[in-house]
């Protein structure tokens, strides 16, 4: 192991307690989105950088949703690596079913607990810390390292990653993206399914609830429509060979980390009826109902074709109309990219893990880089109870991931010298 790598690992070990404290404080600085106020959490991260003298600035097109960006130049020419994490979290789920306060940030049983502790405050804390350590070593590395900590990944990034890529692209695009969303430290994600969000409104005349013969019921139509929509999950899919191979090779691991059924869901269209509302009062026959469907497209299925398919189902209901809330094509990066290789080697060296490149079920901001042609990879801790009560991150596993991030970034940036 080179001296530089050893020194980097020593810095991480020295900062161990401060790092765990950083994650704990970051969880306590609640940032559920919606509503998406990330000021307190961004301040925690900024504090870490301040103390270490690492350069950053706040970019906030929405004052309550600040992003942090910063860049350091190495001593030599080399590739430009961008680190990306998000500051916001899901809203806390079912507060009454948590063992502890959903924003406790408690350190207990070698775990950090709370909303966002896994998705993805562990990852963002790791990348911010890596950026700080490499800043201390910048005289000895090549290339350029950019940090982006963004405010609204959970709501697709209009104020965060997307804003930065549109307004500061020369700074944040780079040659390669490393993202630290949770998944499992035995996998590196090179692709993700594409979310297609569709809103469906059902409008009927409505009436008094005792007069069900007077108007069709919007909620009843919605229930029937939801049942019909299940058909889209049967769509035939022809996966590109790189994806088919990765899913086949990774299937046992995919099912282990994401539970049985996950590998099968990778290659098919899935449907989640995320929200369903209707009616105003129990005793009124509802004149409106709204469904928001979260459809996940595998590679090889175009959003246009799926929108048409959903449109055909919706068209069976004269009271229903649909609109596309968000649509994108499923993307993937090269599973043989150098960054994949570095992560696999470093994870093996640090934690003895055999890491497989697999696609991901969930979407991340990494897609925004892939859409712009930049290879993007996600490596993070096990996703534990994300969007469920008792979300948490295992500290020892996390420290292995942090070191893998740090070494892989260092190795990637050092390549300029060996090229």
């Amino acid at each position: 192991m080179s001296d530089l790598r050893r020194r980097l690992l020593a810095m991480i070990d020295a900062d161990r307690d401060a790092l765990v404290d950083l994650l704990s404080r970051l969880v306590r600085a609640r940032s559920p989105n919606p509503p998406g106020d990330t000021r307190a959490a961004a301040a925690v991260l900024a504090g870490w950088l301040e103390v270490r003298g690492a350069p950053y600035r706040v970019v906030a097109c929405n004052p309550t949703m600040p992003n942090l960006i910063g860049s350091i130049e190495g001593a030599r020419a080399g590739p430009h690596l961008v680190l990306n994490g998000h500051i916001d979290t899901f809203p806390p789920v079912a507060a009454e079913r948590w063992t502890d306060d959903p924003f406790s940030g408690r350190i207990l049983d070698d775990k950090v607990w709370g909303t966002g502790s896994s998705d993805m405050k562990q990852g963002t804390a790791s990348l911010v810390a890596v950026y700080g350590w490499l800043h201390a070593l910048k005289a000895e590395i090549g290339g350029r390292l950019t940090l982006t900590a963004v405010s609204d990944e959970e709501t697709f990034g209009p104020n965060g990653a997307r804003y930065l890529l549109e307004h500061h692209s020369s700074e944040v695009l780079g040659d390669c993206l490393l993202n630290a969303e949770p998944g499992a430290p035995t996998t590196v994600r090179f692709a993700e399914k594409a979310p297609l969000w569709i809103g469906i409104d059902i409008e009927t005349v409505g009436a008094h609830g005792a007069y069900p013969h007077k108007s069709p019921s919007a909620t009843r139509i919605a229930a029937a429509l939801i049942e019909d929509l299940a058909a889209i999950e049967e769509t035939d899919v022809e996966l590109p060979p790189a994806l088919a191979r990765a899913i086949a090779n990774g299937a046992p691991e995919i099912d282990r980390i994401h539970l049985a059924g996950a590998a099968a869901n990778m290659g098919r269209v899935t449907l989640n009826i995320g929200t369903w509302n209707g009616g105003m009062l129990v005793n009124m026959l509802p004149g409106h109902s709204r469904i928001e469907a979260d459809i996940r497209l595998p590679w090889g299925v175009s959003p246009t074709a799926m929108v048409a398919k959903v449109g055909k189902i919706v068209a069976r209901y004269s009271h229903a109309s649909m609109r596309v809330i968000s649509s994108q094509a499923p993307e993937w990066s090269d599973p043989d990219h150098i960054m994949v290789d570095l992560i696999r080697r470093n994870a093996h060296e640090i934690a003895g893990l055999n890491v497989r490149p697999i696609p991901s079920l969930a979407g991340t901001d990494a897609r925004l880089w892939r859409q712009r042609g930049v290879p993007a990879f996600t490596y993070g801790t096990t996703a534990t109870n994300v969007a469920m009560p008792d979300e948490h991150t295992d500290i020892n596993e996390w420290l292995g991931v942090v070191k893998t991030h740090a070494l892989s970034a260092l190795d990637y940036l050092s390549r300029g010298a060996t090229k």
Binding site: R220, G278, M388
Partner: protein
């Protein structure tokens, strides 16, 4: 001497413009419930009583939800008639779906007066107030006692309105008979009603990120299955009392129900109906919903008890371990009725026939009203009002002439009920 009925009809004709303006102003005073803040609506009615020089009391166990109570005694022996109407109305929904100037416009176009609550039941409540004022003017020709009640929260069950009055002022408001102006249509008088059985179902699952559909059942998808399973309730067959069964077997009654309430109403009167009035499932598009709440409005016909429905719901829920249920309607209310051939019913029929040429038939109806408080206390309560066609809809309206006829019928029937012994009006 001119008969009282003629005097009353002449007075209503003379004051036609004034009465229309009175209703219009009431419609322009928003009283949506929820939220149920009805102070302005009550103040509007109080101003009318004060203009007429009539005494009244405000009974407001909840300061935002005042009820009005007025009474006069003729000092001659006779029955005690109680008029009852509610001040609150359904919420308007989304303003942009209203034409004719929005939900509180009170606009009159082509003989129709538009706005939320015009039919349910500002038309009827104004009819009660006008009847009370007219009969007070002519109290020297009447016997017995007349009481006026205007209540705040009929739309949400009557706990702070009629329910409160019955619990705390029963001697003043129960009387010997109740006349209520809820919508009925000119073709029917309502002598009974189904009862609402309101249930909140809560579906709870683990929940997960929306991309991981194998990790948790979806509360919303279970809710769609639950809705389908609950349809079984509508197959329950009632055991009707004979008087009601006879009434419902009458082809004239069945026709009046279908004419008045729309094709299918006669069938529905005898059936359990199910409406999923509210659904609220999931927090966010990209999360598998861990909770879905359904609010069901089940209406029980005469002959189906709540106990029977509860047993059936329990049976259905055996297949849904993720679902819990809570009853939010009044647990002791049951479908209720009074004599379909009672004295007041006949007086309403005669008054209606005189005013409109239509002799309304006695029917059991679909919707619950505060009339149940009287019937459940053993006091007959009858409902006669405008067409229920547009109640609860966007562009709710009442015909101007229809409104005036309701006023006429109420005034005549009430006066006849309070006619001194041996005298007509």
């Amino acid at each position: 001497m001119t008969p009282l009925a003629d005097i009353l009809l002449a007075a209503i004709n003379d004051r036609r413009a004034e009465l229309i303006t009175l209703l219009q102003g009431f419609v322009r005073t928003p009283t949506a419930n929820p939220p149920g803040e009805t102070r302005r609506g009550a103040a509007y009615l109080e101003a009318f009583l004060r203009r007429c020089g009539l005494a009244y009391r405000v009974i407001a166990p909840m300061p935002d939800m005042p009820n009005l109570l007025a009474t006069f005694d003729t000092q001659r022996p006779g029955p005690h008639l109680v008029l009852n109407g509610h001040i609150d109305v359904f919420p308007p929904g989304r303003d942009e779906r209203w034409r004719h100037g929005g939900p509180w416009s009170g606009t009159i176009e082509n003989g129709r007066l538009y706005g939320r609550g015009t039919a349910d039941m500002k038309c009827g409540t104004i009819a009660s107030f006008v009847t009370y004022a007219l009969l007070h003017e002519h109290r020297d020709q009447l016997a017995g006692r007349l009481t006026l009640t205007a209540v705040s929260d009929e739309e949400t069950g009557g706990k702070w309105g009629t329910g409160y009055l019955f619990e705390n002022h029963r001697d003043e408001v129960a009387g010997d008979c109740c006349l209520n102006g809820e919508p009925s249509s000119a073709h029917t008088v309502r002598y009974g009603e189904k009862t609402p059985h309101w249930l909140i179902f809560r579906v709870k699952t683990r929940g997960a990120h929306g991309a991981y559909v194998h990790m948790s059942a979806s509360a919303n998808k279970i809710a769609t299955r639950l809705m389908a399973a609950l349809e079984d309730l509508t197959d329950i067959r009632p055991e009707m009392p004979q008087a009601v069964a006879r009434n419902l077997a009458d082809p004239a009654v069945r026709k009046a129900l279908d004419d008045g309430l729309g094709e299918g109403a006669a069938g529905l009167v005898q059936k359990v109906s199910l409406n999923i009035g509210m659904i609220d499932g999931g927090l966010k598009t990209n999360m598998i919903p861990s909770e879905c709440k359904l609010e069901a409005d089940i209406r029980l016909p005469v002959g189906v008890t709540k106990q029977r429905i509860r047993a059936e719901v329990t049976r259905i829920l055996k297949d849904f371990p993720e679902v819990s249920v809570e009853e939010i309607s009044h647990p002791h209310d049951e479908a209720n009725w009074c004599d379909p051939e009672g004295h007041m019913l006949q007086l309403i029929q005669e008054a209606a026939h005189r005013v409109s040429g239509v002799r309304p038939v006695p029917v059991i109806t679909l919707a619950a009203t505060d009339a149940r408080f009287w019937r459940q206390s053993g006091v007959p309560a009858y409902i006669y009002g405008c067409s229920p066609d547009l109640m609860g809809t966007y562009d709710e309206a009442v015909g101007v002439d229809e409104f005036l006829n309701v006023v006429r019928v109420h005034a005549l029937a009430a006066a006849a009920f309070l006619a001194p012994e041996g005298k007509g009006i």
